[in-house]
Amino acid sequence: MTMRATGRLVPPAAIAVGVFATLVLVVVGGGFDLGAALSAFWRGSVGSPYALLSATLVRATPLILVGLAVASAFRAGVLNIGAEGQLLAGATAAVAVGLAGPTWPGAILLPAELLAGIAAGAAWAGVAAFLKRSFGVLEVISTLMLNFIAVQGVSYLVRGPLQEPTHVYPQTSALAPVARLPMLIPGHRVHLGLLVALALALVLRWVSGATAAGFRVRLVGASPSAAVMGGQVKVKRVVFRVFLASGAMAGLGGATVTTGQTYALFEDVSSGLGYTAIAVALLARLDPLAVIGTGIFFGALEAGAAAMQRDAGVPSVFVAILEALVVLGVLAMGFSRRASAVASTGIE
């Protein structure tokens, strides 16, 4: 019991140490003042209620939602690396609805925005899901193509039909206050989207652990051939539905970005969130509840890095190195676990 508990804690601890070591290396190697940099990192991420509530948790909200999207797909063996495109679709649809209906009451407008985001994300993933089901197209390549089509689509919309009225800036008008997700605590930027993200994680945990649908998904992910041969699970249908659900969650994540955080659509609205979410999902070992923790972890990392760049001049792009190392670390640990299982049983 104790052994197992320790075993479960070691990987996150090892990764946290690795992340910290890399951070120190970049700061010292770059000739920056370590004390100033670390203090900026601390103040910018979790060192004050303001940092936590206006930076870290705001960044964590879409990371949790999109991380859940990626985790759900990966669990069923669907390699959806198109979360970036799906969240852009969701972010766009939510803004389009928000700009169209500023005279509607918030109780109608806000759900309409989020639903539009969900639908757009599901539809964007639906293209790849359809191609996979009907033509056996590898989703890795189709979702990648769809990411680029989405990027160009946003670029067109913010310079064309959705551009702000003066036609100077490549972005939409700002959403009216009624079209913005309400803040949870006055004076802090953390918004309703966080509660949505937490609720979704709980629901997914329940679906996955306690329902027949969740069991089918796990079965398909663990061994599609066994699920086919068992005959009780319609694998193609499960894969198709999981794919749509994953896109819907990513779309919801995108909708919370534009309605809760940026209040407008512009080209770099995602800044790679859909790819960071892969690291979020993997570090959580695809467990929905753990995604909450890893989402906040990466949110803090990004908030802290932004503060380090602002106050100590350390380039924040190094966060990408940390994310990559986290993913590779998780992969390597999965490998060592598998290797030790092979060693103890003699079976590969």
Binding site: I141, F148, Y156, A320, E323, L328, L331
Partner: protein, 302 residues
Amino acid sequence: MTIDAFSAFLEASVRTATPLAYAALGEVVVERAGVINIGLEGVIIAGAFGALVASASGGVGAGFAGAILAGVILAASFSFFVVVMRVDQIITGTAVSMLGLGLTGTLYRLVYSSGSATLHTPTAGPLIVPALSQIPVVGKALFAQPASTYALYVIVPALAWWMFRTTAGLALRAVGESPSAAAAAGISPARVRTWAILFGGAMGGASGGTLVLSQVGTFAEGMSAGRGFIAIAIVVLGRWTPLGVAGSALLFGAASALQYLSQAMGWDVPYQASLVLPYLLTLVALAGAGARSAAPAALGET
């Protein structure tokens, strides 16, 4: 349309296609071995950074060597995870992309940001072939390009010959179709895959090198700008053959060049439309009959 505008369009198409072709020709070998390297984006930017560092002291030649070396180093890390540890190729590739973009961005800012002036690398300008470049319409497009473009005129047929007419090429394709059958025939899938990945790294690095040393003349963060992912689309559209890849690289090059032509001609088409077109074509090609039979059967399997 004037002949001049069209000729300039063709010239821009070939220029834009060159770095894409390098990366995609490397990736076609990798995928023929049954491995898909999504980390190509990171490999290209590593090559671009390698070119910047090496050309500062040794000129264009050293720049290309540095580019290839940097690409190979990043590809080697990918191959360690994928071939030695046998973990998921797609996830490893995603991480390698992030690693390449993060490392080059950080190093660039740490090493070069102190001087505010823009860095210029030595560049290899176009080598104009005397008579051939005078051919109407296509002359400038094909024969007034940097040397790295001309190298492709040799690499493409050589690679096609090697892949389909030599024992080594057969071994490569066998590993991509069925690693276990290849192993039974005495071929080491791990060794073939490692060499294929390293070759893909060299070509991806050269792609970044071409970008810096033959075109832009400087390095910028994220200047790979999705070319690694485009190269993966090009491999699909080119149906996993070197000649097909060369043709689709030209098509993608033409699609980006179309925006300049469109501006020159005053066409009222959003430039994003021509940029999106090749991706749509790739999706259609994927869905088309025979795409699955063209793809290596063991592609993506760990």
